[in-house]
């Protein structure tokens, strides 16, 4: 009788440990995914000066656009870890870069330049990477929230302090209308 109780409690301990480990692994994935978004945003910050230098020679009359991009970049870099300031700043920077590329369409000599094409590809790729990093972050959050709320795990999640994570959603206030 004692042996059966002992075996049952050992099994139960293993079970609890397995649930705890799974929750920890998923939560770490969520946190890593968040810092990956950060990495891609910083990469975009680093590419902007190259872009501005590359187009400066060709787009002499577009100084306003170039200044807008530079200003948005310094703002985004200075916005700090507070999300409510950071997300709008990053979206502003994305909009400014997009505006710059739209204006660059009017300069065929610029468009044909080899290093501009490479830079354009790099920045387009960075935008994609930011988007995919957000997608992966949301995927991880979805998985973590699901596991944490479904049956055997939800009994223990509260006891161990695993709270649901928030999705990265663009709320209405973040959608910034580009100034013409």
């Amino acid at each position: 009788m004692i042996l059966i109780l002992l075996a049952a409690s050992v099994l139960f301990l293993f079970f609890v440990a397995a649930i705890y480990n799974r929750l920890v692994r998923l939560r770490n994935r969520v946190q890593n995914a968040w810092s990956d978004i950060d990495v891609q945003l910083k990469r975009r910050h680093d590419l902007v000066p190259n872009l501005v230098e590359a187009v400066r020679g060709y787009m002499d009359h577009e100084r306003g656009t170039l200044e807008e991009v530079t200003r948005a970049r310094s703002q985004a870099m200075a916005s700090g870890p507070d999300l409510s300031a950071r997300i709008p700043a990053e979206m502003l920077l994305g909009g400014a870069i997009g505006n710059l590329f739209v204006r660059a369409e009017n300069y065929p000599s610029l468009r044909a330049a080899q290093n501009f094409q490479l830079l354009q590809e790099q920045i387009a790729s960075t935008e994609n990477r930011i988007a995919y990093a957000r997608q992966f972050y949301n995927e991880s959050v979805r998985q973590y929230n699901t596991v944490q709320a479904t049956f055997p795990q939800n009994l223990l999640a509260g006891a161990f302090g695993f709270t649901p994570a928030t999705l990265f959603a663009a709320s209405a206030g973040d959608r910034i209308v580009p100034q013409a």
């Binding site: 891609q40 995919y132 992966f136």
Partner: protein, 629 residues
């Protein structure tokens, strides 16, 4: 569709895109469905392996026993073994005999314990040996991985200065970020085939090989979709599965090589190479994986029937008494080898091979669904697959691991058949007109590309002229073949059989026959060099699902619906196919049944021959022992 409001009905016929496929499926659902299917297929493979294992063990075990007992006899002759040894052997033999008796002649009764012990005695050695070999193969190849030859032979790093290759590098990184995996190492191959594959043993050391032609043919989002498929499959653990599947084939190959080794240089050379590879301390991962793949090719090549050392030994026309003596002494090994070859061939091609192919197909579907999950865009993958169905997808050096590619390297014509042949005829017509000699007599080459009837008559006339030896006609046919090849992106070999040679050979011209034979031999050699033996050759079912089926699944996930992709089969064709199936099906089953009977007889014969051989050897040693004493 049935619940569409009345107001939409007038639009239904005008815009087919609105309706789409009836059975939509979210990609999450598709993914979990395919994962469950994987479990089912793995169970099927396991059962198939067990079924195959039974005749194999029955062949292997008597051989093992015979060899051990023969060596025991030899040792006993020089220094007597303890009597407990012989009493154990005796009791084991009696046990096995009673169990076999019970099964075959239904004589006597058996209790469960005796039955269990008897089965263990009869089946255990083979199982244990195969298991040990398998673990050895797994450990050996875990470091090398698959696909080393391709990566080390003619692959290069992408050049970051070139726009398309920079795009490739970026796309791979984007997809790796979307999947949450470490970025796999990307290599480019400059070949005329358009294909891509993922190699490696785990997500941490995965490698992608992409052909340059793929970059030129596809747009950025289509390339992204293909790479999403590959990276998705890496993330799902397909590399591990491929590794396990390959290891099963390699284990059987190793078994055959071990049995063959006393007989010939080839198997001994293979064993030596395996040993060298195991002890290799090379720091370069590329060289190591290249060596791994060479060893693996050698091992799976052993599974081809009729080519092993023992067969060469048996078929050797040189007859000498020494050879006959060796034949008699090693008879059980030779016979076991033959039985094993037949068993392996039969079960691999018809049972285990197709099961693994089905398993692999499920993983391909899963990778497709994962690609949609990563990109959230099923259209791109559908477009990429459609484009690849028209291109040549063969990459030299990759035939051994052909199951790892995105699209089957042998090409897939399941879509072409249903497409209207107008396009094909147009291409052919243009190629024909192009191939016309520049100094054209006005009578023959005045036909426009649209006049198919005239063109066909022209082609027939040229063909007849070529068969009777007209050099101009021969030249035109060759140019036509080259033009068609260029249109489809295939490289036509320069020494294609000339029509005149074929005609002359038909009439019995010996030199023409010799030339054609040489060409045939050369092409077979080329194929062997490219390694057309491989996992695909061992299975009667293709490892790749047909593109049509993949596109259909993508359409269920939301790719845009295109009616021409679904060919309509006429009722007559369906009826004819089903009648043929009903006739041929039972015939095939009967043939398979006969093969099974043959294999059972071989196994029985093997046991008998081994037993007789053993008795003879034992008798000889007993006599010698008596004479000695």
């Amino acid at each position: 569709m049935t619940s569409a409001p009345d107001a939409a009905k007038p639009d239904a016929t005008s815009d087919a895109r609105q309706l789409g496929p009836r059975d939509r499926e979210a990609f999450y659902k598709a993914q979990s469905r395919n994962r469950r299917a994987t479990w089912r297929m793995s169970a099927l493979c396991f059962v198939a392996a067990l079924i195959m294992g039974i005749p194999l063990t029955l062949v292997l075990t008597p051989l093992v026993y015979a060899l051990t007992l023969a060596t025991a006899d030899v040792i006993n002759y020089f220094s007597p073994l303890p009597p407990e040894f012989w009493t154990t052997v005796n009791s084991l033999g009696r046990l096995a005999y009673s169990v076999a008796d019970y099964f075959l002649n239904h004589r006597g009764t058996l209790d469960l314990q005796t039955l269990g012990a008897g089965l263990v005695v009869m089946l255990a050695p083979g199982i244990v040996i195969t298991f040990i070999l398998w673990t050895g193969v797994l450990a050996l190849f875990r470091r090398g991985g698959v696909g080393g030859t391709l990566a080390s032979l003619n692959a290069r790093e992408p050049n970051q200065g070139d726009l398309k290759e920079l795009q490739l590098h970026d796309v791979v990184e984007e997809m790796a970020i979307a999947a949450g995996l470490p970025v796999p190492h990307v290599m480019l191959v400059d070949s005329s085939g358009a294909n891509a594959a993922a190699f490696g043993t785990s997500p941490q050391d995965a490698r992608l090989v992409v052909s340059r032609r793929l970059l030129d043919d596809l747009q950025r989002d289509e390339l992204e979709a293909l790479l999403a498929h590959l990276i998705g499959s890496i993330g799902n653990g397909d590399l591990r599965i491929a590794f396990t599947v390959t290891s099963v084939f390699e284990t059987c190959g190793l078994l055959v090589t071990l049995i063959n080794s006393p007989f010939g240089k080839q198997s001994r050379g293979t064993l030596w190479r395996i040993l060298r590879y195991g002890l290799m301390r090379s720091s370069s991962a590329g060289a190591k994986s290249a060596e791994a793949e060479t060893v693996a090719v050698l091992l799976t090549g052993c599974l081809d029937m009729g080519d092993g050392d023992i067969d060469r030994f048996v078929n050797n026309p040189k007859k000498s008494t020494w050879r006959n003596f060796l034949f008699l002494v090693f008879l059980p090994i030779i016979f076991s080898n033959m039985a094993m070859e037949v068993t392996l061939w039969f079960f691999f091609t018809l049972l285990l091979g197709p099961c693994m192919a089905l398993l692999w197909r499920t993983r391909r579907y899963l990778a497709d669904a994962s690609a949609v999950a990563l990109m959230r865009n099923p259209d791109a993958l559908a477009r990429a697959l459609k484009r690849l169905s028209q291109a040549a997808t063969d990459i030299p050096g990759g035939a051994w691991a052909s199951h790892l590619f995105v699209v089957s390297p042998k090409g897939d014509s399941s879509l072409n058949a249903s497409r209207s042949s107008g396009e094909g005829m147009q291409t052919a017509a243009r190629a024909w007109v192009e191939s016309a000699p520049s100094v054209a007599p006005s009578a023959t080459s005045a036909s426009a590309p649209d006049d198919f009837k005239a063109l066909r008559m022209e082609m027939n006339a040229t063909r007849l002229a070529a068969m009777s030896g007209d050099p101009q006609a021969i030249e035109r046919l060759a140019a036509f073949a080259r033009a068609m090849g260029a249109a489809r992106g295939i490289q036509v070999p320069a020494n294609m059989p000339i029509a005149a040679d074929i005609a002359a050979a038909c009439r019995g011209d010996k030199t023409a026959i010799a030339r054609l034979q040489a060409l045939g031999g050369e092409s077979r050699q080329n194929e062997a060099k490219r390694g057309s033996t491989g996992l695909q050759a061992q299975s009667s079912l293709s490892f790749h699902p047909s593109l049509k089926r993949r596109l259909r699944r993508l359409e269920r996930m939301g790719a845009s619906y295109s009616p021409e992709a679904h060919g309509k089969k006429s009722k007559a064709a369906v009826i004819i196919m089903s009648v043929l199936g009903l006739i041929i099906g039972p015939l095939l089953l009967a043939a398979a049944g006969m093969m099974l009977v043959v294999i059972a007889m071989l196994v029985m014969l093997n046991i008998m021959i081994v037993a007789i051989w053993l008795v003879v050897i034992h008798g000889i040693f007993v006599l010698l022992g008596h004479a000695h004493a």
